[in-house]
């Protein structure tokens, strides 16, 4: 395990909005306050901060200035949607090494449509110079090419992938914090407005504003509700040099991840993955070993992904139903995992859940997201 004594001891969110009602720092502050209240940790005890957000010229340190925190550990991740998982992992490692006592890991976004459009045309140097001049259509255009390849190579269908969007929406109907809660049928999914063939509206996350935060500290502070990190891995820029691969870095570290956790995929009580598009969620199911490569279509036909289904998946509705709040999106699955493991899932509680996996994906560049991460969590 990553640490015997240190883990997640609380979590909190800032309410999500379709249009921002406050600044990025406002969302960060709201989530941090709620997370500390949930953990029962007081502000003056916090001396570590990790931030996942498009901060511009700001850093974790100037975020601390805004929040009035004095820090012995400050961290800002570099892996976009795969980053927040590793922020949590690195915070646990830092506390285990004694460099801080309590850390808040916060991910946030405050974006209107104009800000989002500007951001996606300039994700990286390669995107702004070699994709945006073609009218690449942002992440949907890129992931459409990836999905089409997966469909051609493995026979995956939209009917199969649609089960991810439909079942996650059913989970979201039991999550008051989700922005999209209206029931979604497979027909709605199949016939929605075309965005980038073969992707339609409900294949694509809705950019929004909000924040998620977790508090890392001594597990004995959690009153029996701590969450331990059993194992975690990250992989960047795999596979090398392939423009639109139908696999990701998860396949490289899958065996190590489960071996270090001492469990296999079947021992997981739920999976929360980075679901910017159902095809990427499907690839994480494959690459993390829940089914063989290329067989996710059949896997989706044979399983229900609802909180009470055979494969509880993105049990709060995921980004596809909650919305993608910038840097909060990679932390959404961690917060929901902690909620489930603590038995605080309410109407969407996975019965008897004490252990689960959360995976991340991000850092969109020339043809695909470059970064993959995953963590296995268990009740302490």
């Amino acid at each position: 395990m990553i640490s015997r004594d240190v883990g997640i001891i609380g979590y909190g969110s800032a309410a999500y909005d379709k249009k921002p009602r406050q600044t990025l720092f406002g969302y960060i502050a709201e989530a941090c306050r709620n997370a500390l209240a949930h953990a029962g940790v007081r502000k003056f005890e916090v001396n570590g901060l990790a931030v996942d957000a498009a901060l511009g010229g700001d850093t974790a340190v100037s975020t601390a200035e805004y929040l009035g925190l004095s820090l012995s550990w400050a961290y800002k991740s570099t892996a976009a949607g795969a980053g927040p998982i590793m922020s949590v992992v690195n915070a646990v490692r830092a506390l285990d090494a004694g460099v801080a006592d309590y850390v808040i890991c916060v991910g946030a976004g405050a974006q209107d449509i104009a800000a989002f459009k500007k951001r996606i045309a300039q994700f990286t140097h390669a995107v702004s110079d070699y994709l945006a001049p073609h009218g690449y259509g942002g992440p949907p255009g890129m992931h459409a090419i990836i999905q089409k390849k997966h469909m051609a190579r493995y026979g995956t269908t939209r009917e199969q992938l649609g089960r991810i969007a439909v079942d996650q929406r059913a989970n979201a109907s039991r999550n008051e914090a989700a922005l999209l809660r209206k029931p979604l049928t497979l027909d709605d999914y199949l016939n929605a407005k075309l965005v980038a063939e073969p992707l339609r509206l409900f294949d694509c996350v809705m950019p929004c504003s909000g924040a998620e935060a977790v508090v890392i500290g001594a597990l004995d502070r959690a009153g029996g509700k701590g969450v331990r990190l059993l194992s975690a891995c990250e992989r960047h820029n795999h596979p090398l040099g392939e423009i639109a691969p139908v696999c990701g870095g998860w396949e490289v570290f899958r065996d190590q991840l489960f071996e270090e956790a001492g469990y296999g995929p079947r021992d997981m009580h739920f999976m929360n993955c980075y679901d910017d598009f159902p095809i990427m969620a499907a690839m994480q199911i494959e690459d993390l070993g829940f089914c063989a490569k290329g067989e996710v279509g059949r896997f989706l036909e044979e399983n229900r992904l609802t909180h009470d289904g055979s494969f509880p998946f993105n049990t709060g509705g995921g980004q596809l139903s909650c919305g993608q709040a910038g840097g909060a999106s990679g932390l959404l699955g961690v917060v929901e995992a902690a909620r489930q493991i603590r038995g605080e899932g309410g109407e969407r509680q996975v019965a008897g859940a004490t252990r689960g996996i959360v995976s991340g994906y991000g850092m969109i560049s020339y043809g695909h997201g470059l970064s993959a991460s995953a963590v296995i969590l268990e009740k302490a």
Binding site: Y130, G135, Y136, M142, K148
Partner: protein, 151 residues
């Protein structure tokens, strides 16, 4: 309204200037032979800085593609759908690029995907394996990066 342009640097200047003449040139690594796209100061495979620009035929095949209907910037929104494809070049190397289709419509997705070129039909539908070539001059001058059409 003109298309967005890549930032012109000493590193990508040969690519951009060749394309202004309607030609495709790519960096080849002298020691290891790796063909590099997008342009860089070093070979990402062996880290050599001995790179040579070589002319390519501009012919290739579609690996995967998408017609993109939802655009964030003009002038692409008014040209929707824009077809974007991963293209494998016949002289080696690969890139993502725009493909100009002669027949495009919102209903095109439901058409038969492949009309084999050997059947003698002139206009192939874009599909995996479809042959593409560079848009010739003077049309090429409209686009800021190498752009293809169905061959």
């Amino acid at each position: 309204m003109s298309y967005p342009e890549p930032t012109l640097t000493e590193t990508n200047r040969p690519l951009i200037e060749a394309w202004r003449r309607g030609e495709l040139v790519l960096q080849h690594c002298a020691p290891c032979g790796h063909i590099i796209f997008f342009p860089r100061e070093l070979c990402p495979k062996c880290w050599s800085t001995q790179l040579e620009w070589r002319k390519h035929s501009g012919r290739g095949r579609v690996v995967s593609h998408s017609r993109v209907y939802s655009h964030v910037t003009e002038p692409f929104a008014s040209e929707s759908p824009v077809t974007l494809a991963e293209i494998e070049l016949e002289d080696g190397g690969a890139m993502l690029a725009r493909v100009i289709e002669s027949v495009i419509s919102a209903q095109a997705e439901s058409l038969p995907p492949v009309i084999p070129a050997q059947a003698g039909i002139q206009k192939a539908e874009i599909a995996p394996g479809a042959a593409v070539e560079l848009v010739p001059m003077p049309d090429a001058a409209r686009y800021s990066l190498p752009t293809f059409k169905l061959a």
